[in-house]
């Protein structure tokens, strides 16, 4: 653990845009976080927070910690030192940062120059690794949650077929012959995450004396709520049910069915979906028509959920399966956000603004930033940046014809825009934007890897007519 003096020396000065970041010091900080051993007797665990909310929110958090230091009287300096150490310590004790924290450090230090491939690499690799569970532990969890596995399953593959966000997935067969996927959570991890997030919030509070705490608190709560939902498999079962019915008559998209009798908060039993993973599919060197086909299905899947007042907030490659007959398996619904009436109206207004004039764009963007007129005058660069981002995100939706996501130019512009956005001082925004913006970045990233071309405008028209 670096000394406080070293940490402070690594922080930028007051004007974030003027000072270069101390790359080596920051990497050292995050590297030390990544390699710190688990303290004896601690219950801190590895955990996988599959949602991108965790990844990006931690990146923002790390950036905010850097930018909050302000030189002042000695007494205030001491206060800031104390709180900085406290915040760093809290980050350290969140064991699920391990493994990916080094990547976070790299992201923070590479912001202005990040290439799309770098961001893509970060997004696809920046997942936290849950500790693997041997079968004896799996069996204890099943005994605790469902009863003796021998009374429930005819067969149970003791080797996991996939890692889940905070657990792992096993293939099994129920007594009546149904092939199922059983997701089992690591014991105690849900409570650890909730406790850690509460602690982190408490740690952050005194540190933000010069910031708009309420706005950040709202955003933090948004992230926290999403993460807590991800730890509750009953919530995921509810999401599977709500989203699954949207594709019940769809021949192209398959959503697993939940077996509620064999599901609890910590165990989720679903129908087994057979297909290639994202990496396996790419390894087959698919043809362009195949890439376009699946790209279109991914867009369709996410879009249809959105049209039904839900936001699928984690379009991670691991959540899609490429099935033999051209169907797309759509799995993992741990983080689905439901729009309330006010949020839904906000999004409908965004759709109208997209199709409206430049003035409409600006007005909507001001609203998304929760800016009053005087704020817009004081922070014109922030407003302009968001208007630029609004146009950028809507580009594929307004493009007539097949939009080529495989062209790195679009993702490059998006990455550069994100880098500029991260350096801004304005922190207020509609909380729901945190997730919709993330999805707006995830989809192009995913389709960039897939090298898909999708006629998004036509797809949206077809979906609205059906």
């Amino acid at each position: 653990m670096p000394t406080t003096a070293e940490l402070l020396a690594a922080l930028p000065a007051d004007e974030p845009q003027a000072q270069p970041c101390h790359v080596e010091e920051l990497e050292q900080i995050f590297h030390s976080l990544a390699n710190r051993p688990v303290p004896t007797g601690s219950l801190r665990r590895f955990c996988s927070l599959g949602g991108l909310s965790a990844k990006l929110s931690m990146a923002y958090l790390a950036y905010w910690i850097r930018s909050w230091y302000q030189p002042s009287e000695a007494r205030q300096k001491d206060l800031f030192e104390t709180h900085l150490r406290s915040a760093i310590n809290t980050l350290e004790t969140m064991g699920y940062l391990r493994g990916a924290v080094a990547k976070l450090g790299q992201l923070m230090t590479c912001f202005p120059d990040a290439m799309p491939e770098g961001f893509v690499d970060m997004l696809s690799n920046l997942h936290f690794q849950a500790p693997p569970m041997h079968y004896a532990l799996i069996r204890e969890q099943l005994l605790s949650e469902l009863g003796d596995p021998k009374d429930i399953f005819d067969e149970f593959d003791e080797t996991a077929i996939a890692a889940a966000s905070i657990g792992q997935v096993h293939r099994a067969q129920l007594k009546k012959g149904q092939q199922v996927a059983v997701k089992i959570q690591y014991p105690g991890i849900a409570r650890t995450i909730r406790s850690d997030l509460r602690n982190l919030k408490t740690t952050m509070r005194p540190f933000l004396i010069n910031r708009d705490w309420q706005a950040i608190e709202q955003l933090f709560d948004e992230v926290r709520t999403g993460l807590e939902f991800e730890t509750d498999y009953e919530h995921e079962a509810h999401n599977l049910h709500n989203c699954g019915r949207l594709f019940a008559d769809d021949e192209d998209i398959v959503v697993p069915q939940v077996y509620e009798s064999f599901s609890t908060r910590r165990v989720l039993t679903m129908s087994f979906v057979e297909g290639l993973t994202f990496e396996e599919f790419l390894a087959t060197n698919p043809s362009q028509p195949e890439r376009d086909h699946y790209g279109r299905l991914i867009w369709k899947a996410v879009s249809r959920i959105y049209s039904n007042r839900m936001l699928y907030t984690d379009a991670h490659p691991g959540n899609f399966l490429f099935m033999e007959d051209g169907q797309l398996g759509f799995v993992d619904f741990g983080n689905v956000r439901y729009f309330n009436d006010e949020e839904w109206q906000y999004h409908l207004d965004g759709v109208k603004a997209r199709e409206g004039s430049k003035e409409n764009h600006i007005a909507f963007c001001k609203r998304s930033l929760m800016m009053k007129d005087e704020d817009a005058k004081k922070h014109p660069e922030m407003l302009n940046l968001v208007v630029e981002g609004f146009d950028l995100y809507n580009e594929p939706l307004l493009y007539e014809g097949a939009f080529d996501y495989g062209d790195p130019e679009y993702l490059q512009r998006m990455s550069e825009w994100l880098a500029r956005g991260a350096k801004q001082q304005w922190v207020k925004q509609e909380p729901v934007n945190l997730f919709s913006h993330r999805l707006n970045f995830q989809i192009p990233t995913l389709l960039f890897q897939l090298k898909s071309r999708v006629n998004v405008a036509q797809l949206i028209r077809d979906e609205s007519e059906s």
């Binding site: 219950l43 500790p131 004896a136 991890i189």
Partner: protein, 195 residues
Amino acid sequence: MRITADEKVATRKRILEAAKSQFRSKGFEQATTRDIAREAHIATGTMFNYFASKEAVVVELASQGFEKAQREFVKNRRSGAEIEEELFALVGAQLRFLRPMRKYVRPLLDSALTPATITQVNETNSSLRVDLTEQFAAILTDHGIEEPSSVALNLFWALYVGVLTFWGSDNSPKQEDTLALLDQSLRMYLNWLCK
């Protein structure tokens, strides 16, 4: 009147059932040998012919739980399981079979499972600790650790008793924190042992 062997077995069984009932309803500290004897329909003095103290009753109840755990472990043992999994499976089974007595695991720990060195023998509990130690050592040996040193066994014993102590006051739902602690502790121990 001479008491038959069968009657002795039946009486012993009644005492144990009565003790479980008394511990459950009153807690270990509040339950008395008089209460247990009364519920078992025997004289208090008679009870001492079978068990010298409440603690001795707890040790016997625990021994039964450990035996069931060992039988389940052997029955469900699967080929190819790594040493960590096997140790976890055994201790996990023990925790499950001891669950009814979780609230009074402390007297068990104090009387029979102290983290004393393995070479120290206590007359009243040598059998239980030796049996458990032999079970753990057998798993180590099965996985190529021939004749585990006394240091290795003592270290494991300390870890084991630590987990049981934690479990005794673990208020997490279904004591899930204990499972996580056991998993992490075994991993740490075996990383050291197998270096």
